[in-house]
Amino acid sequence: MKKIYILLILALTCFTAQNVNAAKVRVGEKNSETTTPTDKFVFAAKAGFNLGGTAPMSLPAEIRAINSFKPTFSFSIAGTAQYNFNNKWGLQSGIKFDIKGMQTDASVKNYQLVVSMDGSTVEGVFTGDVTTKVHNSYITIPLLAVYNISPRWDIKVGGYASFMVDGEFSGTAKNGYMRDGSPIGPRVDGVDAVYDFSNDMRKVDAGVQVGVDFIPYKHLLISGDLTWGCLPLFKSDFTAMSFDMYNVYFNIGFGYVF
């Protein structure tokens, strides 16, 4: 799967490079058309990937070190429709299926956690290493104002709403000890536990989105979009972790403009 996408991106990149001259010619043509209204509707199909993290807005003091961060390769496919009011302003929406995921390994101290340790649920504060795996798939509907800054470049500002299709938020707590209940509770050493908060995540996410569309060639679209979730990842009654987390991801997409 991964390989196919890498190949696709490479192919598109090469294709783009070879056609720069051709594109220039066409852009020149497009420039000359600015006096006449552009197409009212523009449709595009895109494939891309998300890079980023599901993370607290600022790292809580309980996290002492990030030992590793791995943005897992998370693909997205989307169809977009853009309505142009005039040759400067437009409105873009569409539907996107995307996966937001990452893997982290952090050293924590006094990190509030509910873990499943050998089948038993233990709630307390943990000091040691915590790994986290996030792999969430969403159906996302963006709504963006589009401003055409140059023939090839559009900037986009708006928001999005996502509906979770399937979600995983799980990990391990290892190489440390847990204090049962609170920092003054009985100490449990040699912790080798797992946690799974998949069912505690909200089914919806919504946030702000800013991005650019670059059209190097008449039918080719390269887009970059930063999506910043404004809803905490977990439901409000979720207390197994002491801080809120948000989806912050950058999407790079390659598309075909019809």
Binding site: L51, S58, R64, M117, G119, P186, D189, L226
Partner: protein, 407 residues
């Protein structure tokens, strides 16, 4: 094109900076433990440091009446301070030391007892305290001694696996735990209470025990340095030093077996039954493959144990019945261990008296005995093979009025 890539790369890196930047300053410590107690004289025979209770047994007479022990030092959590009890040196009775964590948000009161080592040999199971926590409350048994001046010494020499069961979160009331005091006086042999040990089902689990047998033993149950859920055999630290040579173990008990000795896998499923065919313990007379009670007392050389077990002067669940450090034992072997008489409702209503003789496999050196170089472990359990995750749910053992007859 180059610019585009640069811009995209920058935008990509931006969200990552959220993760890699701004590791905050470490917060002050939140722990408020007493980690150790140090005395200026080498007189400590035994030390039991629990989360909220510390019991130190010292050579009798080494600090007079113990009303003015000024040379005591506490090792406490990093940055913590003692906020109460440090200006009073009277350790003739229970002494409270309150420790506040470095961040000031957590305070814990520890009961500290410096006791002269006069090991009690009669146990009536009349003294119980409740260990309360957010997740539930469980019973703890202790012995109370009164000296000539009427000073009370509470000896927490008994231990059970209730602490481990508490962590599973399955116990709410005292009688939900594997080990608790009788709920009705009618159920005791004499006095107000007897100890009740019940084998509980814990459930599907990774590598811990799906079964928790009720147990009560002389020693300590501790999760220090181990994974208490996985290494329950190591959590049971059997034995305390004694300076007398036991001859007999007397006790009153009743027992109802929960059924066949089920063998559980780590998923909490029954995968077989223990029979004489797959039992090499030599203990199973195979009465319908029934689960049976464990009652035994093991006398062992604690200096030898220390040599054998990496400086640990106690036996644990995996060595208690098979240690080369053992010098003598008394063990319940007759068929009453499978069950005592039942009434018409199928309830064991009759206590049965037992008197078990100690048989010695090695000579006891009187000089070393006087020097507390031997330890005694008295062990009761509702399922003999409980430590191996084998037994029957609801096997139940009542014990009362135990006496260790010494020379």
């Amino acid at each position: 094109m180059k610019k585009t890539i640069a811009r995209i790369a920058f935008a990509m890196v931006m969200p990552l900076m959220v993760f890699t930047s701004c590791i905050k300053d470490e917060l002050p410590n939140t722990e408020a433990d007493i980690l150790d107690i140090i005395l200026d004289k080498d007189v400590i025979i035994s030390k039991k440091i629990e989360n909220e209770r510390i019991t130190v047994f010292i050579t009798p007479g080494s600090y007079g009446d113990r009303k003015n022990i000024r040379t005591i030092s506490y090792v406490i959590s990093d940055g913590a301070t003692i906020i109460r009890g440090n200006d009073d040196y009277d350790y003739s009775t229970s002494h409270e030391i309150e420790v506040m964590s470095e961040d000031g948000n957590w305070k814990k009161t520890h009961e500290v007892r410096i006791l002269e080592m006069n090991f009690p040999t009669e146990y009536y199971f009349e003294n119980w305290s409740e260990n309360r926590a957010a997740t539930g409350v469980y019973d703890e048994c202790f012995e109370r001694l009164l000296d000539d001046e009427g000073n009370i010494s509470d000896l927490y020499i008994w231990a059970s696996g209730n602490l481990g069961y508490r962590i599973t979160g399955k116990g709410v009331n005292t009688y939900d735990y594997p080990t608790y005091k009788t709920l009705s006086q009618d159920d005791a042999h004499s006095g107000a209470y007897a100890a009740v040990l019940t084998t509980r089902y814990v459930g599907a689990i990774g590598q811990g025990s799906p079964l928790a047998a009720g147990n009560l033993f002389i020693g300590e149950f501790s999760g220090k340095g181990i994974n208490i859920m996985k290494d329950q055999m190591k959590a049971t630290r059997f034995g305390m030093p004694i300076n007398k040579k036991p001859q007999k173990l007397k006790f009153w008990f009743k027992y109802k077996s929960g059924g066949e000795i089920n063998i559980y896998n780590t998923a909490g499923e029954v995968i077989g039954i223990r029979t004489t065919d797959n039992d090499n313990s030599g203990m199973n007379a195979n009465v319908g493959n029934k689960d049976y009670a464990a009652v035994y007392a093991i006398m062992f050389d604690n200096v030898k144990a220390k040599e054998l077990y990496n400086s640990k002067n106690y036996l644990d669940g995996s060595t208690i019945l098979s240690s080369p450090a053992e010098v003598g034992r008394a063990i319940l072997t007759d068929d009453d261990k499978y069950g005592t008489p039942l009434n018409e409702q199928g309830y064991p209503n009759e206590y049965v008296f037992k008197e078990l003789d100690f048989t010695y496999s090695a000579a006891i050196d009187p000089a070393r005995l006087a020097n507390y170089e031997y330890s005694i472990a008295i062990v009761f359990s509702s399922s003999f093979y409980g430590a191996e995750f084998q037994g029957a749910i609801d096997s139940k053992l009542w014990v009362d009025d135990v006496e260790l007859i010494c020379e």
